[in-house]
Amino acid sequence: MLSRKTGKEFYEQYGFEKILKSFTALKVRFEFPPTVKYPNLPVRLDFSSVIFPLSGETFCTGSEFLLAYRLGCRIEILGGV
């Protein structure tokens, strides 16, 4: 189980390969720079809608985290495995 940390700390602790190829699942709070045209973190709005906002709180996989991180997203890991 992961403790609270910043996305940068998480990335530096585990590295690209490990995050990509492990079965990583995270709960994150995030904020993309306003210049990002297509933010990639899905947020469930209700039972039938998923949106991709510039900021919010959501669950995501390791590969989604990596893409968001590469897009300059400010991420706070709230928990995960």
């Binding site: 190829k21 699942a25 709960k27």
Partner: protein
Amino acid sequence: MRDTSLLSPSGMSLKSIGLLYPDLPLEKVELSKQELVNMEVFYLENPIRFKQYALQDAKIVLFHALEVQNSHFFFSKKYTIPITLSSLASSYLETELLSEGKYHPPTQNGLISMRNIPKILTPSGVELSGDLHEYIDYFLGSYHGGRNESYIYGVVKGEFYDYDLPGAYPTAMAMLDYPN
């Protein structure tokens, strides 16, 4: 309830499914554009042909479903109609690997199957699943389904393009690595 388009390669039409069996009288009855536009008129004007059309469609579906069921039994010794062709394939692979002792279904402590999520979230499941119940939520929450967006709404005048990438997700996943 089954959908034949999910039980045929790349969502074939019913006509193409009928053609998979050239030795059998399973050719789809073709209707004219006029007949297709108003089925009620078609029925009133030509009830015999209407009946032939409806029955032939049902025959194609039934025969194909039974063939898929037969294949499922042949490959996996399961006498049911799978939901999709891919589930037939994974069922076959699992049966083969299990029989060779190369596959062990994922369990926690040998007691709780990781496939049976509702059982994990019961009083006995929580106690018997080790710490699985603590992190299963992260995996469940991370599954959002495919991304599908429409950026512009309204009437389009002139040409427009609709891009679809069949199998985009599994293709990207296959590029990652082999699962361990």
